[in-house]
Subunit: 203 residues, 4 copies
């Protein structure tokens, strides 16, 4: 079979996945029925089931692609040269997440919350998420090492712990924005700055 067929297949998969994500985001994972997804995708039940084994696989795929989107969004920030100081980078990460959600009409924060909840009873999903966040934390740890080398961290600072703390801030921002509201990346960044976290890299 020529390449076109594969492309079509991939396009179909994406079409279904987009429908699923839209439904999940709007109604949550459990309140979304397969029929919702089938209708939203514009395909037939059989077609959907030929691309995805079942609802669980669709959930996993929705979360996985969301994480993929997130990775594509965030990795460049970590590799930016010159490396921004901690608070600045953290703010950019949060802003990037926030902006994407607003721009694409596809709220990564909501999906994240749904995924975390689901992960507690779906080991497969949990493993996927754990892997993603662990990898991201490793990346952050690498970044922290560079900060340390640049003298932006205390001398005794552990890059791993810094990564853990920053990941907490980022994930916490997602929760706080989704549940409590009235908070933006700048607020968090300002708050960290007020606490004494290096803003400029100078001390």
């Amino acid at each position: 079979m020529p390449k076109i067929s594969d492309e079509k297949r991939a396009a179909r998969r994406m079409q279904i996945l987009d429908a699923a994500r839209a439904c999940f985001q709007k109604n949550g994972l459990h309140a979304t029925t397969m029929e919702d997804i089938i209708r939203a995708s514009g395909l037939s039940a059989g077609a959907v089931y030929s691309y995805f084994k079942g609802k669980d696989e669709l959930i996993l795929a929705a979360v996985t692609t969301s994480l993929g989107t997130l990775r594509a969004l965030l990795e460049p920030l970590l590799k930016a040269e010159p490396l921004p100081p901690p608070v600045k980078l953290t703010e950019r990460i949060m802003s990037t997440i926030d902006d994407f959600s607003k721009r694409e009409g596809y709220d990564l924060k909501r999906i994240a919350l749904l995924g975390w909840s689901e992960a507690q009873r779906n080991e497969n999903l949990h493993a996927t998420m754990r892997g993603f966040y662990a990898a991201f934390r490793d990346l952050l740890a690498g970044t922290a090492l560079r900060w340390k080398e640049e003298g932006l961290l205390h001398d005794g600072a552990s890059p791993d712990d810094v990564a853990k703390a920053l990941l907490a801030v980022i994930l916490g921002f997602v929760v706080e924005a989704a549940i409590v509201g009235d908070v933006g990346p700048k607020d968090i960044a300002a708050g960290l700055g007020g606490l004494g976290v290096n803003k400029s890299g100078l001390r």
Copy 2:
């Protein structure tokens, strides 16, 4: 059976709620069936439904009481004299949450994640949680004001923003611990310290 005493009634309610929380924690909100809760409570379906209108009320009650527990746990920390410096207080808050979960065999973190997810399609629940976290954030802002007066924050620091940042750290710790693992209150505290947040209150 004659009229049951108020105490007994409350005890029965708690018995059912404990069963529900145990089930929710183990299987998640949606995967838990009323029959699970009924069996775990040791009562009959009718009895359970005479204490709680339905599953939604049970979910709301489970989350609400968890938040109540959390409040009882955390408020004393915010009123402690002398007031610990930011990182120390944050660490204590996280440790308290962590220890309680280990001690009582009742993981507040898991329930929190479930609640956040559910809140996205249950406005009643969302309002309850938003109210709780907003109140807690206000308390933190008050604390931040005291820190500021004591010179533990930068001069230009906004207590509100500091509160937002610290709440993010705390909530983020909950997520990170539940999903990624390999992280404890001390790690986060050390990471914040490494970032330059005042540990001792001295600068």
Copy 3:
């Protein structure tokens, strides 16, 4: 036990029955729950069950007493002297049913409809109703015989058939008033008169 106790018992029974009838009339037989009746009666579940075996007995009793009320209302009309001519008597019967319903706030027509429906799956109830209506039809047949003797019916008229026809008119009025509306005893009477039924007894 002295007589008072029996009286009290009877009063309690009536209290429960009144509550049941009010509920049945308002919500129908099946939509009325025992709890509705219990609450309306102001007694406890146990008390209600000590006076009536169960819901079926309550339904039977409600219908039976309604029929008793009907009998008490209608029998005097059939024994009136001088005996009114057919249409006049029929109109009086319909008016009596109508007026009672309005006066007492207790609609015999509604209860009748409910009872007929229920009778189709409750042989006990069916037998009770059949017995009542059959007896009433017999009474009407006796009346028809007197009309015949007085020359108010055609010579070849069968009193039994006349009774059947008049019972149909009366029962039909109940249905028509309850379901179609815009009809009163006078309309029916006028219609019969228009059809040529002797109004005055003169021809």
Copy 4:
């Protein structure tokens, strides 16, 4: 399965409706469970629910189609030429109802009684029935007008009242036959004749 034809769909609907009507007739509206209907229809629960929203819709459909059947049965009688005199027409109407019930093994009288009862707490159903009977009564009034023109009614007779009276006779016959028994269309007709209602149109 590919798209089913409209005919097949209609046939399936009828299959379910027939099953429902059979159950309703045998056990009454409320004592009939969805499982009864599902089993009787030979389909699955899901299939039944894909054709009818729920039990209420099934009840409404059963009553509505019964009324439709009734209309199809009775309208020709009202349009017959030459127009039979009042008692004759009434007898034919009652006979038609009676015969259909015997012939088809589907008792319109029983369904009618069930419907009247249900109508008292189901406004939708009530409106449907009221509309049907009111239309039928109008038709009868038109017929009465023709009788009047032909001199078969008293000069002062109101066609509307005559229609009300005849509808009462017909509905009353249904009740009397279902509840009391020992009565047929001929008995009622004879009784009306005995009361002086024009049989032949001559006086």
